[in-house]
């Protein structure tokens, strides 16, 4: 009491300009970089003698290339579905239950995200050379007529290991944000846990599942290291677009590489758009 008040008089808040200038400037720079990457991928092949259309035509007529595109679509889609099959229950358990060692389980789920991709491929290779791994390989050979290593199932496994880890993160956060109350109410109404999950939680998580599926699909499309190490890159057998792209770059065929890259960008954009449209459809009728 009695002390002079410094700067007496009405307070004036400082200018908002620093916030808009810095945040806006950074956002603009970031968006510019992304746009430049996309535009360059599209413009560059156009400026070459064969032209973008020529390269795309080549990509679709060349047997090896077409096989890589088809295999990519097949494995990415299958892996995205499998990632969701894993991510939905794991995400729900992590969001809805508490148990000893949960922090460890949580951390384990993130291992594929933090491990370097080549290391993931190598560890998978090592795993299939352990006695249980060999047993699984032999069982697969006997029942499905194919092995994991250097075969299509290996591509899917390599994709799922990473894709599912991202999908789990999305689904966990989805269920974290969905109140458990409706599921509890469903149980008081006579539902079992199983029924309350399928009738209430699962439909309510639709948007999250679309996001998780899209993210997993996109991760699988870009998956490279583990596939190269674990499944190899034999044309027409285990070569996918990402490994084919690497092959083109490594022998200096930049134009062909660009055509593959362009296709991958296009595919990613199409999947992203479809997922957005599907996700928005009928959510708030």
């Amino acid at each position: 009491m009695g002390e002079p008040v410094p700067g007496a008089g009405p307070h004036r808040a400082a200018s908002d300009l620093p916030l808009w200038a810095s945040f806006g400037g950074l956002t603009a720079a970031w968006l510019l970089l992304i746009s430049a990457i996309v535009v360059a991928t599209m413009i560059y092949p156009m400026a070459t003698p064969t032209g973008l259309i020529g390269h795309l035509r080549q990509a679709f007529t060349d047997v090896d290339s077409r096989s890589a595109i088809e295999l990519t679509m097949l494995t990415c889609t299958l892996s995205a579905v499998l990632s969701l099959v894993i991510a939905v229950p794991v995400g729900w358990l992590l969001a809805r239950t508490r148990f000893p060692g949960k922090a460890l389980v949580d951390a384990l789920c993130d291992v594929p995200i933090v491990l370097p991709p080549l290391v993931i491929g190598l560890t998978m290779l090592i795993l299939t050379r352990t006695p249980p791994g060999i047993a699984i390989e032999n069982a697969m050979q006997a029942t499905l007529g194919t092995r994991l290593q250097f075969a299509v199932p290996g591509i899917v496994l390599a994709m799922v290991v990473v894709g599912a880890a991202f999908a789990v993160r999305v689904m966990r956060s989805t269920f974290d944000h969905l109140s458990p109350r409706p599921e509890q109410v469903a149980m008081t109404l006579g539902a079992s846990r199983w029924q309350s999950f399928w009738l209430v939680a699962f439909p309510g998580a639709r948007r999250g599942m679309i996001t998780a599926g899209t993210l997993a699909w996109a991760r699988c499309l870009g998956e490279f290291g583990p596939i190269m190490v674990f499944a190899g890159m034999t044309p027409r057998r285990t070569e996918v677009m990402s490994t084919r792209l690497f092959l083109h770059i490594s022998v200096g065929e930049l134009e062909k590489a660009m055509a593959v890259a362009f296709l991958m960008v296009l595919l990613a954009l199409v999947v992203l758009t479809l997922a957005r449209l599907w996700g928005d459809r009928g959510v708030h009728p």
């Binding site: 109140s179 109350r181 409706p182 509890q184 109410v185 469903a186 149980m187 008081t188 109404l189 006579g190 539902a191 079992s192 029924q195 009738l199 209430v200 439909p203 309510g204 639709r206 708030h284 009728p285």
Partner: protein
């Protein structure tokens, strides 16, 4: 009738023990108490959504202490209604009946009857998104009453509603309790609400639950004692 005897609950640092009370069959019981004192936990334990550390819960004389939530025959209305975002109002009212495999004509008749009683017939094909607070609570109430439970547990069902809507809901709640002949346990902070609805009044304070005469609701400033923040 709801009978709770020697109930104890533990969750982390929170614990509550020795909770005993009885709401007579068909009576409208109101439970009041300060925020964070464990009212919701008691209600959840009644509904089977929270494990008991000790004690016994009986509904209409049947011990349901270890029964699954769905086997207890308790209609539950949480504070925010907790509606199912992907279902229409009609599907909400039919939810418990479908689980009980009622025949479709019986479900239709029951849904129409409830919707008429609760004034939500015009909303039957709407989804929760866009419903007003009052409409949502009517749907939640209808969903809880649909399977003719013996007991209704209401957790501050009107807390988020404006006063005019609350007044309408008081009448609806009282009428619903009479029509469906249910025993009710209703948690509220509002003395006004308690005065309108309570036939039996309990307060929970510092872990002690006590039945109070309804007159305390009319006493000068008893709210400071009953519902201090």
């Amino acid at each position: 009738m709801i009978t709770v005897a020697g109930l104890a609950l533990v969750q982390g640092a929170f614990h509550l023990s020795g909770v005993s009370f009885t709401v007579p069959g068909g009576a409208y019981g109101v439970l009041m108490g300060p925020t964070g004192c464990g009212k919701t936990s008691i209600l959840e334990a009644l509904c089977g959504l929270r494990a008991l550390a000790a004690g016994r819960v009986a509904i209409a004389g049947v011990d349901v202490s270890t029964a699954k939530p769905g086997d207890r025959g308790i209609g539950y209305v949480p504070q925010d209604g907790a509606l199912f975002t992907t279902m229409t109002v009609r599907e909400h009212l039919a939810f418990a009946l479908r689980l009980r495999r009622w025949p479709e004509p019986a479900i239709r008749a029951r849904v129409d009857e409830l919707a008429g009683q609760l004034g939500i017939t015009a909303l039957l094909d709407r989804r929760p998104h866009g419903l007003s607070g009052g409409e949502r609570q009517r749907v939640a109430l209808g969903r809880a009453l649909s399977f003719r439970p013996a007991v209704l547990c209401l957790d501050e069902p009107l807390a988020a509603l404006d006063e005019d809507t609350q007044d309408g809901m008081h009448e609806l709640l009282a009428a619903s309790a009479r029509t469906h002949a249910v025993t009710v346990l209703h948690i509220t902070h509002s003395r006004h609400e308690a005065r309108r609805l309570a036939q039996v009044l309990f307060t929970l304070r510092d872990g002690v639950i006590a039945q109070q005469p309804l007159a305390v609701l009319d006493a000068p400033r008893p709210g400071a004692r009953v519902t201090a923040p």
